[in-house]
């Protein structure tokens, strides 16, 4: 894992002091709320319906046990004993007091963490593949590249007041576990013909009210030109992105309005200029950072055998374990989607336990996933059973990864001032309705994603089944969408038709899943059947 040196540490320490000063000035009345707002947002502090919410960055979703424990400590000391893991691999606390925020940032800085740029119209936390460094299907570990980008984007003076927020994702595999093409800039590491590692750039993806899948704008950017190319992309956006209408201000709208070719032409022109400016760290810097991401000391003799005689354990292994590049090891995903629970929430005690298990069984490492789960990336197979027992005792062993109850849900009307409808209670009801694990497994991979309004924090556009909360004459109403995907087969979901009540939308989900079971061909997932059969057939089943 990356470790701060004195420079990195000083940056976050200085930031804590700066923010302490800003909070003091706000409390003293020297800053108006209008002036304070962008400053607190750049430190991840939002004002929600009932209280302040603090969003803490988990760069590329990677955490050490010590950092995870600090997240538990913050939940216990400053919040109501729980935290919420988000779709951008961050954690949010919902009940924060303004005057505590500087102390929380200081606690975070003590374990090399921060809330810098987790909000605001700036470059946000860089997200990545939660299986990075553990999966066999990657060509390199994407995280050193993400760390280069993290440092470059931190306090970038030219790009701190962009037209709108800006999100990067970096992956290094053809399997996309990070919804890469739904980001403002998605980067996939690739080899060129000479065998060198570089970055393929996709620009202009995003969700929100106008969802778009990012088109590829360059097939290869060499490692030592990464920053100047990124700067060129950002500069064109900063200068020409729309500022007259906040709903049209994301880069996706610029790329769409200019057209991919024209946007690319402008970027290339800017790049030709910028690559001469000495903006790129030398390759030694990438090498230095990569040193921190070397494999942990795996036991090369570790056995691949697993005793699956406990049927519950066998189910969990079948569903929640993914293949590791190292024989004898496994990637374990801890589902934060228990029956009737709130997707992504974890109590302080659960956070502590996950930290302890990571220390004991996973070389001190954890990951946060964009589908709001936690990963222990390097678990020896011979330890899986013991670990699973401890997870199970703490309610952390739902065997539902990628099944219908492993849903993503935004905070919705329970917390969010922009919401039209509640998301959490709906997710809870769905998880009750489909609680039978046999039935869930019969339905197979099914990505259900719920947003409480058009802003799409719950990724409903990218759901095999998406649900969007809308407000209809003052009552909560839900639209059903089908056919989205945030993976390598990225696609945008389409609305089926008129909306439903809360119970009505759950019935409609049952209708479409029943139709799937009836129509599917050998080996087809829900999404495959939907794509083959088409919307009309599904509509007919729902609306008759």
């Amino acid at each position: 894992m990356y470790q701060y040196d004195q420079y990195d540490q000083k940056m976050v320490d200085a930031r804590v002091e700066e923010f302490r000063d800003q909070v003091d000035r706000r409390i003293a009345g020297d800053l108006t709320e209008d002036q304070f707002k962008p400053l607190r947002l750049m430190n991840g502090l939002y004002l929600q319906l009932h209280a302040y919410m603090l969003r803490v960055a988990v760069p590329y979703g990677t955490l050490s046990s010590k950092q995870m424990r600090m997240l538990g400590h913050i939940a216990r000391k400053y919040d109501r004993d729980y935290g919420h893991f988000t779709t951008r691999q961050n954690i949010q606390y919902n009940w924060i007091k303004l005057e505590d925020a500087p102390d929380i940032l200081a606690d975070l800085a003590s374990v090399e963490m921060h809330a810098i740029q987790t909000s605001g119209n700036c470059i946000r936390n860089i997200s990545s593949d939660q299986f990075a460094g553990a999966t066999a299907d990657e060509i390199a570990d994407p995280r050193p590249w993400a760390e280069i980008l993290r440092q470059w984007s931190s306090f970038h003076p030219e790009f701190s007041y962009l037209p709108r927020k800006f999100k990067f994702a970096v992956i290094a595999s053809d399997t996309d576990r990070a919804a890469m093409r739904l980001h403002d800039i998605g980067i996939q590491l690739v080899h060129n013909d000479a065998g060198e590692l570089g970055a393929k750039f996709f620009v202009g993806g995003g969700m929100g009210r106008t969802p778009m899948i990012a088109p590829e704008i360059r097939d290869f950017v060499p490692a030592d030109e990464l920053i100047s190319y990124a700067e060129a992309c950002l500069r064109v956006y900063n200068r020409y992105g729309r500022r007259d209408n906040k709903y049209k201000a994301r880069i996706k709208i610029l790329v769409h309005e200019l057209g991919k070719e024209e946007y690319t032409r402008q970027v290339e022109e800017e790049f030709a200029h910028m690559k001469q400016l000495g903006l790129n760290p030398p390759v030694e810097e990438l090498a230095r950072i990569s040193e921190f991401f070397q494999d942990p000391p795996f036991d090369t003799q570790a056995s691949d055998d697993l005793d699956l005689s406990d049927p519950d354990f066998a189910l969990w292994v079948d569903q929640n374990i993914s293949a590791h590049k190292q024989p004898g090891y496994a990637i374990a995903t801890i589902s934060l989607k228990p029956r009737g629970g709130i997707p992504g929430d974890a109590s302080s005690a659960q956070i502590d336990l996950m930290a302890e298990l990571a220390e004991q069984y996973s070389f001190d490492e954890l990951r946060v996933t964009h589908s709001q789960n936690i990963v222990l990336p390097h678990v020896r197979k011979s330890n899986l059973y013991a670990m699973w027992q401890k997870l199970d005792e703490a309610g952390l062993a739902p065997a539902n990864l990628d099944l219908i109850t492993d849903s993503i849900a935004c905070p919705g009307l329970d917390y969010c001032s922009l919401a039209n409808a509640r998301s959490i209670p709906l997710a809870q009801k769905i998880s009750e309705r489909f609680a039978d694990l046999g039935r869930q497994r019969e339905l197979g991979e099914l990505k259900l994603k719920i947003s409480g309004c058009i802003n799409a924090c719950g990724h409903h556009h990218a759901g095999h089944i998406g649900i969007l909360g809308v407000d209809r004459k003052g009552t909560e109403n839900y639209q059903l969408l089908l056919g989205g995907s945030g993976a390598e087969d990225a696609s945008l979901a389409k609305i089926t038709g008129p909306g439903f009540t809360e119970d009505g939308v759950i019935d409609a989900i049952e209708t479409v899943t029943d139709l799937y079971l009836e129509q599917r061909e050998e080996g087809e997932r829900f999404i495959d059947t939907y794509r083959r059969v088409g919307m009309a057939r599904f509509k007919e089943a729902i609306y008759g």
């Binding site: 440092q151 007041y161 500022r243």
Partner: protein
Amino acid sequence: MVEAIRLRDDEVHEEPAVSLDSFLDQSNATAVRIEAGEDARLLLPYLDRVSLIEIDFPAFGDGRGYSAAQILRESGYAGELRASGDVLLDQISHMRRCGFDAFAPNSPINPQRMEEAFKRFEHVYQATSDQRVPIWRHRHG
């Protein structure tokens, strides 16, 4: 009118800044003001005869002026670069990093607080037109 802040030692340029359109029409102006949406690159052919470029920030959240400043400095402009308008304490060090060396804020900025803001971050991660040494260069000499 709030007094302008200058971080330069040379003489104050007395000629009033003209709009970009008038500047491009007129062959002898030496001071120009560009609005947030205007293209700073239009000035590049004339940089050697300009002594003052003022860039307006209609609202502090409108960050186009940062790119305009960087473009001018990257192209070798060495005269006064002044940020005017909604220029606030909390953005002023970013402005300086992008090459601004004078400020004409709508409301006064406490000079002591400004000095503190400039000193807050001992190091920087990026190479920008203020020529500060980025952290990666410290690391690798």
